[in-house]
């Protein structure tokens, strides 16, 4: 795989992990903090930038 592909897959995995953590908390609680779920999407560019050169 190329460097870009690795970055893409690792970022997707990180974002998915964040989404599952949020979802676990969301359904366990009082269904609040929905905006935190939107913020999970920000994980993708953050991780992608962190693992770039």
């Amino acid at each position: 795989m190329s460097d870009n592909s690795y970055r893409l897959v690792v970022s997707v995995i990180g974002t998915l992990a964040g989404a599952f953590i949020f979802f676990g908390g969301y359904v366990a609680g009082t269904h609040g903090w929905w905006w935190a779920g939107v913020l999970v999407l920000a994980l993708f560019p953050i991780i992608n930038k962190l693992i770039s050169h």
């Binding site: 795989m1 460097d3 690795y6 970055r7 897959v9 690792v10 995995i13 990180g14 998915l16 992990a17 599952f20 953590i21 979802f23 676990g24 359904v27 366990a28 693992i51 050169h53």
Partner: protein, 218 residues
């Protein structure tokens, strides 16, 4: 108190599984199921991240293939080869934590090959350019009259797919004859005294003899 908590947790588990599939999924997540998924994702991500770092680290490596020709009059025991390997052990690099997990440090390696092209036997060492001097020094230290030449990789001159119109392929590997707890037979055990002062010690004789019988076009 703890018993109450446990009972209510078990009751929740039963409640969850008596609903529709999405509700079951959400219930499992709420009861800590996300931990399993995140655990798996974490290790998958870590593995891929490690591979990505290794690829970056190896990007600028330049491999060289060295052919070693030792004159027949250069008599040496197999101990010399052992010393050569000991010398090359100096290539071992101890990576620090940041080097390993931020820069993706990868230990450079060597490959030692014995090839026979139409019966012409060659000893080859494939190494990274950085260790060129180390390899050459380790050879000359034991075989001062040896010739070390950088050659083109023979793999580039053979077809990529087998079998084809002209060539077939055959492969084999060596296995242990006994349980792995038994020690390997060392070169010392191959020694044969044929006279008072003459001791033959060639553990690779049989192997190389069959290599020399490889015919034209093979």
């Amino acid at each position: 108190m703890e018993t109450d908590f446990l009972l209510s947790y078990i009751q929740n588990v039963f409640d969850v599984f008596s609903q529709g599939s999405f509700a079951v999924f959400a219930g499992v997540m709420a009861l800590g199921g996300w931990l399993v998924i995140v655990w798996l994702l974490f290790f998958a991500g870590l593995h891929l991240y490690g591979e990505m770092l290794e690829d970056r680290y190896k990007k600028d490596w330049e491999w060289v293939l060295l052919a070693i020709d030792v004159p027949i009059e250069n008599v040496q025991t197999p101990k010399a080869v052992e010393q050569t390997f000991n010398h090359l052990a100096g290539a071992l690099e101890n990576a620090s934590f940041p080097e390993q997990y931020i820069y993706g440090h990868k230990q450079r390696w060597f490959s030692f090959e014995i090839i026979s092209i139409e019966g012409y036997i060659q000893f080859l060492i494939r190494t990274e350019r950085k260790f060129y001097d180390l390899v050459v020094a380790s050879i000359y230290a034991q075989y001062p009259n040896a010739e070390v030449i950088e050659v083109e990789d023979y793999v580039n001159n053979v077809p990529e797919k087998y079998p084809n119109e002209f060539y077939n392929i055959w492969g084999a590997d060596f296995g242990l004859a006994e349980h792995e707890a038994f020690p390997l037979r060392m070169y010392e055990q191959f020694k044969n005294s044929i006279g008072k002062d003459i001791v033959l010690s060639d553990p690779m004789g049989t192997f190389l003899e069959s290599f020399s019988r490889i015919g034209a076009g093979e």
